[in-house]
Symmetry: C2
Subunit: 354 residues, 2 copies
Amino acid sequence: MTMAKGYAAQAADAPLEPFHFERRALRPGDVAIDILYCGVCHSDMHTARNEWHNSRYPVLPGHEIVGRVAAVHPDAVKYKAGDMVAVGCMVDSCQQCRECTAGYEQHCLRGATLTYNSPDRVTSDITFGGYSDHIVVREEFVLRVPDGLDPMRAAPLLCAGITTWSPLVRYKIGPGTRMAVAGLGGLGHMGVKFGAALGAHVTMITTSPEKGEDARRLGADEVLLSTDREAMKAARSSFNFILNTIPVAHDLHPYLQLLAREGNMVLVGAIEPLPPIHGGMLIGGDRSIAGSAIGGIPLTQSMLDFCAEKNILPDCEVIPIQAINEAYERMLKSDVKYRFVIDMASLAQEKAAA
Amino acid sequence: MTMAKGYAAQAADAPLEPFHFERRALRPGDVAIDILYCGVCHSDMHTARNEWHNSRYPVLPGHEIVGRVAAVHPDAVKYKAGDMVAVGCMVDSCQQCRECTAGYEQHCLRGATLTYNSPDRVTSDITFGGYSDHIVVREEFVLRVPDGLDPMRAAPLLCAGITTWSPLVRYKIGPGTRMAVAGLGGLGHMGVKFGAALGAHVTMITTSPEKGEDARRLGADEVLLSTDREAMKAARSSFNFILNTIPVAHDLHPYLQLLAREGNMVLVGAIEPLPPIHGGMLIGGDRSIAGSAIGGIPLTQSMLDFCAEKNILPDCEVIPIQAINEAYERMLKSDVKYRFVIDMASLAQEKAAA
């Protein structure tokens, strides 16, 4: 029996603390990964604190994982020891339904197995995520980190990256698209970078001139201050596409008004009941509101390849695992530019415990 | 000075009664039309009763108009006396903005002039609609009724028809589309007919088995009873497209659940504040909700041509103008299959008054 180390919450009101657990033995097709880096997502905090009312303790979060293959089951064919790989929000799915076979495993009709807080399909044990030195994942859910992509900065691509990339691909964003991004955090800053890389005209919608300046540095062509009534009025009916990364419920009307005919606003953050929308706001302008959830494995791999080719990477602040609770508090205040990444070498400093 | 006759409401709580008004003199490009038939739309009743809080009395409704050209201004080139023509929800727009020049006059950036209850662009007089023996409209907003299309049954195509046709075209509905229609009234029954004519697999979602049988007669392949919990559960994630014609605010969740990945539900009726939607319902399935408002003049003409070619016509009940107030009450009870059309010859029976 080999033990692994990590950081987990034992209850909704408990901080994350050192936690030891038994490594999963390799099953056919499995890949064992020594974790080097793990990004810190809002979902991690929501789950650690049971804010979505579905947490099963201990909760060991983390789904923006980059590491090196330590070992593979003899049946596994995609990877070998030493490969630089990544794992995102899912570690398993039925692999047989129409969604899985089409490469949209996140919409598996039998339910995808999430990287943490989700029952394993074989043992029903609750999965543990990437705030750990080790993870075992079936090879279909392991991504290849292309040569030349900084492993530390690659980590947030596995959730913040694919979450924003996926709707841009779905809605064919590119040259000629008048695109806006609402919310400048881990997701929003990737939305700006991807939009610019795809050739769209990108406007950052924000409440603060400082964030606006930052958005320009990230690649935004223009800044629209949502607090400026005249500017918001002048921008009505002007965008084909709004990537709305605001992670909490909010009034959608000020944004919907900005959509041109047949324009789409895609929500990627607000997994909450939304304030009422007036039907006329959609009907009057042939507008639409959509949602988008991460992305399938093939799309995630092609995003990593695109990022390596175009040298697109998140802006990260590296922290030791011991700073995770403080990082959550700073994340709540949007005090991070723009994604925390845990350097898992810090975990080796923890004393062994049982 | 030549007078015209019609039926108008003088106040929100008043019934529609005989009304006489001065005909508009022909301006350059104008077409004068003797009205033969006018369909009865929910919007007519909403406006007559000031339910949208924007009515200016007297309100003379009607925007599903078919008639014969009586005269044209010497500058007008598209029509000549005797032509069978139609007028829908709009009678004017700026004709210069990007929406007008693209053929989406209903989204004119300066505001389209509606057929009734809207200020004329030249005189600012409030427009009078089709519950009348006469209307004058600039030729750009006059449609040609193709030979072979029954003029009486063509009338509802001008609103109920184009309102449902437009989103089917926008979302490229055709063979391979698993489409559902919610709400079986004037709009919904055209949605079923159009969906079937375009080759989609059409399911009628309704509360009543009787309406379901009717929908099959209209062309639906299947019926889904929204009151049948098991059937609704089994139908989850199964439709690519839902045409939601329900004309009042309602909980959208039971319908959103039925959408497959990247499925769209288009609202065409509920111009009201909608009950809150949970963001997860959109995000979880990459779903979207859109709105759609009538259609532009080029699309309306091509719909009329399509209907003539394929012999697609609304199911109508012809009434005399004197029955209009009773018709509104029956419409409220959904007691019409599926659209009232006023035979304007009945207006000649009214005694002349001043």
